[in-house]
């Protein structure tokens, strides 16, 4: 019997039991759709994240101090240990192009003239080259020690009259103090510039650590927030920092125990960025090594805290992303595993229905054998039926999964990536599920004795 004829005849039997066949197929549809949807979403998510690393970012190493056993992404378990002096020393190394701290400023609002908008986070104090030249749409990088800021378009666009280069804005800190900044540049993207920020789009302001972070540290009266040390010995040194014109925080001490500001050089940074001269991996590794070696040596301020409990971690964006991708992949495997269980249940459903079908059609099998059907013809018929059920399930499931993945990616606003190899895989799985679940029932059908089958009521 020709394969095409088997398919034709099997398709007949399937259409003879529309509801039953549809329900049987549904198990496979759901399983395959779940796998495809999650894989599509995962691939889109990865593309969304990885696609955001600009080549220039690749010469940066991001560092923080944390318990070596801490698991997690950037800044997980970070403690402020690296001082301003440390950064200056590191920057002087040959292998290092630039080294600067990174710290979010706890702000409350931004004002441009009379207009005031709330801005709870997204004010980032860091070094000038953190905002790369090539990511500036207009203006220039801010300079260390100046009251200058670079905004991203989302932040600039929050005011009725768009803020532009040259405008003077005011930043209101969490403590309520106001400090001014001149806008010197606008970036070209609303996405984060480094893994520290995250890569999602949001309004952001970039300002120099000096004076803004130093002021904040001073206002809090601490030199390192929740650092492992108590109140620092440093005091009254803020004014000594030459670039500071005003120190409003100095006049607004609120707690009795906080009786001092901090020396700028003694402020500790939670996170640091070290730039290598190029994105070449040997250069990046050299810069990383220089920074780590210095920080772990006794010469550095940071070494005071570093030890078994606390170690410096320096990673590139790509490495940090790799961790994220690993987590994503783990999550995806987990979900695909659950979906695979659904596939297993689906194939048991097909096997079950095929067994019922074989019993129900015992007489038909007898007739076919009486008129000359060989065992393999009968086997082929029932196998074809199971394979059709599996394949139809796989194709419908793939279509449904792609649509669901597309809607998901569109809803989360990710670039859509179709995992074509998984589509091929899904169809193969459908075929396999059909064959595996149909094999035993078809074999039972094939070895039915025609004499018994013809007598079967």
């Amino acid at each position: 019997m020709k394969p095409l004829e088997s398919l034709r005849l099997s398709w007949r039997s399937i259409r003879g039991h529309k509801l039953r066949s549809a329900l049987t197929t549904l198990g496979i549809v759901i399983g395959i759709a779940a796998v495809i949807a999650f894989v599509t979403l995962g691939a889109s998510l990865q593309a969304g994240i990885v696609g955001d690393i600009s080549p220039d970012d690749q010469r940066n190493v991001y560092g923080w101090a944390a318990d070596p056993d801490t698991e997690g992404g950037p800044l997980a378990g970070a403690q402020p240990v690296v001082s301003g002096d440390d950064l200056e020393t590191i920057e002087d190394f040959e292998a290092v192009d630039a080294a600067y701290g990174y710290a979010p400023i706890q702000s409350q609002a931004i004002s441009n003239g009379d207009e005031r908008v709330a801005q709870g986070d997204g004010v980032i104090a860091t070094g000038p080259s953190y905002v790369r030249e090539d990511s500036l749409r207009e203006g220039r990088q801010f300079e260390q020690g100046e009251r200058e800021a670079v905004l991203n378009p989302a932040a600039a666009g929050r005011f009725e009259d768009n803020v532009s280069v040259g405008d003077e804005i005011a930043i209101t800190t969490l403590g309520g103090q106001s400090t001014t900044a001149e806008v010197v540049g606008i970036t070209d993207s609303n996405e984060g510039l480094s893994p520290f920020e995250g890569f999602e789009s949001s309004p952001r302001l970039y300002v120099p650590t000096d004076p803004y972070y130093l002021e904040q540290a001073d206002a809090a009266g601490l030199d390192g927030g929740e650092g492992p040390i108590g109140p620092s010995e440093g005091a009254d040194g803020v004014a000594a920092n030459g670039s500071e014109e005003t120190n409003e925080a100095a006049g607004s001490e609120r707690t009795g125990e906080t009786n001092a500001g901090t020396d700028g050089s003694d402020v500790r940074f939670l996170a640091v960025v070290v730039e290598a001269p190029s994105a070449d991996s040997t250069d990046v590794d050299a810069a990383r090594e220089a920074a780590v070696d210095y920080l772990e040596s006794d010469d550095s301020d940071a070494s005071e805290f570093l030890g078994d409990e606390l170690a410096m971690t320096f990673q590139t964006s790509a490495e940090l992303l790799q961790q994220l991708e690993d987590v994503l992949e783990l999550l995806q495997s987990f979900i695909v595993g659950i979906a695979a269980i659904s596939l297993l249940v689906g194939s048991i459903g097909i096997a079950n229905i095929m067994l019922v079908s074989v019993t129900e059609r015992t007489r038909e099998i007898g007739i076919m054998k009486a008129v000359g059907a060989q065992n393999r013809d009968v086997l082929g018929l029932f196998l074809a039926e199971a394979v059709i059920l599996g394949m139809v399930g796989a194709i419908l499931g793939t279509a449904l999964g792609l649509v669901a993945g597309y809607l998901g990616a569109w809803y989360v606003d990710l670039p859509l990536v179709y995992p074509y190899e998984y589509v091929a895989l899904a169809v193969a799985v459908g075929l396999l599920v059909g064959i595996l679940s149909g094999l035993y029932p078809a074999w039972r059908a094939a070895r039915t004795d025609p004499i018994d089958a013809l007598r079967y009521e």
């Binding site: 004829e5 007739i367 009486a370 008129v371 000359g372 059907a373 004499i451 013809l454």
Partner: protein, 259 residues
Amino acid sequence: MTGSGAGTEADEATAVSLEDVRKTYQLGEPVHALDGVDLSIPRGSYTAIMGPSGSGKSTLMNLVGCLDTPTEGTVVVDGADVAALTDRERTALRGTTVGFVFQTFNLMPRLTALENVALPQLFQGVDRGERRERARDLLERVGLGDRTDHLPKELSGGQRQRVALARALVNDPAIVLADEPSGNLDTETEAEVLDLFGEFHDAGTTLVVVTHERHVAERAERIVHLLDGRIERIEELGSAGDPGEPAEPADGGREREDR
């Protein structure tokens, strides 16, 4: 022509021959369904097999129809020794040389009349177009040219049995086996279907009808009476398929003891 001694030279003229055939089933204790049967069915003949339940009619059917193999003895169908064939060869032989007509019609419920008739050729690998043409021809011959696309459930009992007859004939078999072909039909339809059998016999088809109805058996050329797995006697009748000329009574002169 007689049961014993069907030699090779007789093969041309013999559709089926059985020699000392025994069939034993092991159902707790051995049951001898057939206990030494010799029978020869010439080509173009019309044979009826009669006997009470348990006399071995069905077993004989299954053996002649290549559905089963004998425990002892030889069954030669269209020149082939059934017991010597593999399962696959036996199935192939069955498909091409035997046509079945059943009491309960046994049509495929989801296939149309035409497809049912064409089914045996499907398993022989005949082309679809050729199959359909042949099936249409046969349906016209059994008077169902206008019912080709009907499903069995849309046909009357008589029509179904005619479809079954057409199906049995589709491969031009050496022998057509009919098991109580009119058992599920009313008297009038029965006559129609049996008339059709007569017509095909006249056209050269070899027919074997198993029945326990005397008037059905009387349409044949001869009646083989089975009892307890043995041939009790073979009753030769006059011209076949003509109910208008009743044969001699069962105990009449032309009957002959077989062993």
